[in-house]
């Protein structure tokens, strides 16, 4: 057991370093579940209200976005929690694992800090074991809080169902801690390891999306399905927890087996000699920034194309459903104000646009990482001006996010057009996607302003995006008031296809976005460079 020597000390060390980060994750996830559960009785006062909501969501779109929807025929508040938000709470738990595990394993190795730790009386498994134990304990605490507090704050929520929700979320988180631990052994850089792990989460989301729409066994291959598969508040079953346990043990064993076989700081691929000379493009600021963001751009492009294809391939299922349930389709369409298919496509394009923002924000933040690492100091002491330097990252974020979005929308458009035998639909989808570009740029502008004036507050744009995603996914469910909607830039985009195209809002959004971007560049030109 010498390989675990020092684990206890490292656990205390991680707790000390993350004394703010861990509570934020736990309070954020538990708080969201409890807030949601406690607000439901106010919005859906009668059983008829709840049943209307259930009918609205008894279709393939809901299966795609929210899960299998067990217990829709008796839509109690507990079932609402399980059917409408449990999937996303599980995703949040998975991402919590990814970021925390990579932070305490590969990131520590990459910076050379682990070398310092491993040179003392610390075993080779101590660091990954400590990270795994802390993250798993945080997930268990999360689960206990949800299980005990849900019956208190919610109405008619039995303890068994609450326990299923709590343990389901915790188990999902722990499984993905195992996934991240394996990835951390293979990928040399922390940034890359986090991206690859996040891609596994995204793939798991897609696998269950396909499975849930088809109602097939495919869903079982995704750990993100397992929490909902426990059927909380319907007829709880507990054996998916064993599935999660076995999967975690297998993943952790693989991670430790890889760990003993490799050198500290090494990945699976041995470093090879590279080019002795820089290409011409690399010596240009835009080319240099592109080189740094290339991998991320390719990754997000592939991700959104795959998602567009997955979304597009469900269009057929949905139009079949509309044909089989004409009255229901009409009812839903009347609720939304536009045709069901249009409303669905608009929603899917919104999802793609929010994901494209997930490329844009880190693309600009890369400049901040370059600054604090001291790389910017070397570049800016050459004849490269500050505006051109930061402008390169902003340019790639703007153009790159538009490309990523159009690729995803293009894939969705091609499949939809083929399915509906309607070329026009392709162009409608492209148009709907283009309408979201100014909203993405607005968030880039926000990052730019924070970078230029308040670089310590660069978490704020993420919070705005998180809020926009919440408003987009759950706003109607929570009956969110108009002023709250208005805080999300994505809600100022004309609802296309089907809605009215308003040039003014696009022009205004673009104007504000470019104004903010320029303001940020000016701010950066006036402040001290901050490096270590």
């Amino acid at each position: 057991m010498n390989q675990f020597a020092g684990t206890g000390t490292l656990i205390r060390f991680i707790l000390r370093r993350d004394r703010l980060r861990l509570p934020i994750w736990i309070v954020g996830i538990t708080g969201f579940v409890l807030l949601f559960a406690s607000s439901l009785p106010g919005i859906y006062a009668t059983e008829a209200d709840r049943q209307a909501r259930a009918d609205l969501w008894d279709n393939p779109i809901a299966n795609l976005m929210r899960g299998p929807g067990y217990g829709l025929d008796d839509y109690t508040f507990g079932v609402m929690v399980a059917a409408e938000i449990l999937l996303y709470v599980a995703v949040a738990a998975a991402l919590m694992s990814v970021f925390l595990i990579i932070r305490h394993t590969r990131r520590e190795e990459e910076t050379g800090r682990l070398e310092l730790i491993r040179a003392s009386t610390v075993g080779s498994f101590a660091q990954p074991a400590a990270a795994l134990i802390v993250v798993s304990a945080a997930h268990l605490l999360n689960g206990v809080l949800i299980a005990t507090l849900l019956p208190v704050v919610g109405e008619d929520m039995a303890f068994a169902g609450s326990l299923a929700v709590g343990t389901g979320v915790a188990a999902t988180g722990i499984v993905f801690a195992g996934v991240a631990l394996v990835v951390a052994q293979m990928i040399e850089f922390g940034r890359g390891a986090a991206s690859v792990s996040a891609m596994v989460v995204a793939a798991a989301f897609l696998i269950r999306a396909i499975g849930d729409v088809q109602g097939s066994v495919i869903s079982w291959f995704s750990p993100l399905f397992w929490a909902q598969s426990m059927r909380p508040f319907v007829d709880e079953r507990w054996w998916p927890l064993a599935l999660a346990g076995i999967t975690t043990i297998a993943l952790v064993s693989v991670a430790f087996a890889l760990n003993v076989r490799r050198d500290v700081a090494a990945g699976l691929v041995r470093p090879r000699p590279g080019k002795a000379n820089a290409s011409d493009g690399l010596a240009h600021p835009v080319g240099f920034a592109f080189r740094q963001l290339r991998g991320s751009l390719i990754g997000w492009s592939i991700g959104l194309i795959v998602l567009g294809i997955a979304f597009g391939s469900t269009i057929g299922e949905i139009s079949e459903w509309i044909a089989d349930n004409p009255e229901m389709a009409e009812f839903v369409a009347a609720f939304e104000g536009i045709s069901l298919l249009d409303s669905l496509i608009g929603f899917l394009v919104l999802i793609l646009a929010m994901l494209a923002t997930g490329f844009a924000i880190p693309a600009v933040l890369r400049a901040r990482a370059e600054e604090t690492a001291g790389h910017a100091e070397a570049l800016l002491s050459t004849a490269l001006g500050r505006s051109r330097w930061i402008g390169s990252y902003l340019l790639i974020a703007m153009v790159g996010s538009a490309i990523v979005l159009l690729l995803g929308a293009g894939a969705l458009g091609v499949l939809s057009a083929i399915d509906q035998n309607d070329t026009n639909l392709f162009w409608q989808i492209i148009g709907a996607a283009l309408a979201y570009v100014p909203a993405i740029w607005l968030l880039i502008g926000l990052v730019s302003v924070f970078f230029g004036f308040f670089p310590k507050g660069l978490a704020v744009p993420w919070v705005v995006l998180l809020f926009a995603v919440t408003a987009g996914l759950f706003g109607d469910l929570l009956n969110m008031p108009g002023w709250m909607y208005n805080a999300s830039p994505f809600e100022h985009v004309p609802e296309l296809p089907g809605g009215e195209f308003t040039l003014l809002s696009i022009v205004v959004l673009t104007g504000i976005a470019i104004g903010l971007i320029i303001l940020g560049v000016i701010g950066f030109g006036r402040r001290d460079l901050q490096s270590v």
């Binding site: 470093p271 000699p273 000379n277 690399l282 001291g374 050459t382 004849a383």
Partner: protein
Amino acid sequence: MTPVISMKDVVKTYGSVRALDFFNLTVNPGEVHGFLGPNGAGKTTAIRVLLGLLRHDSGVARLFGGDPWADAVELHRRLAYVPGDVNLWPELTGGEAIDVLGRLRGGLDPKKRAELCERFDFDPTKKGRTYSKGNRQKVAIIAALSSDVDLLIMDEPTSGLDPLMEVIFQECIKEEQAAGKTVLLSSHILYQVEVLCERVTIIRQGQTVESGTLQELRHLTRTSVTAETERPAADLIHLPGVHDFSLDNGRVQFDVDTDKLGPVISEVAALGIRNLVSQPPTLEQLFMRHYGEELTAEELAEPEKEEVVA
């Protein structure tokens, strides 16, 4: 003759911390200027102000007669900078990093680059992450030396280089000087400054404590004298300019202010010299005289970083 670098009463504060406190520095064309000071004295801050990376609060800073903040890009075409702690991009090779830095500066001489790689025994095909500290330092040195510029600003450039490489570095700097270039060399390695620099500026706690040629500064320092005399030397202790006097078995040892050396040695000679050893002041002593008894705990702790910039 316009100085290449001129800083007059420059103040730079970080919150309540004064990194530069009415700091003065003048570097003339064609000279290799030593910039000395203990850790945390403000050397790197002064250099970052000159590079337009930091904006000073008051005072005047001039680079080639221009404003280092407002005219940064134009001025940077004429200089190359070697930081004390070179951070490389982990995903780029050393050769790519040299090219990027050189070309962004306005181009580099491929022949000189190849020659320098050879001289410094540097492999440009390895990825940034895999280089040792000394090899990372070589990237910045090679990039700077293969650019055609008028001024080299070097912030403890040889930290991490082995003694052999340091000799090569010194040769390179002498060649640059012969070619008429101006060099600002910050260091706390004193013998390096002694070998290369004709003028030095000493900074402590953000203030210029001394500036001049080594010759001028030596007048301010003391020479160590050890002698054996035929007659007892006890009376020497009363001579003006004599310090730290000790007498042991006919062997006398003391330090003497360099400008009083002549009269004191005459007195020693009058006692009948059997043996005399006199050591010229070194920059170590120069340093010791400024910081000797009053080194603060902070300076003794030798923090790695020059300033704390959050």
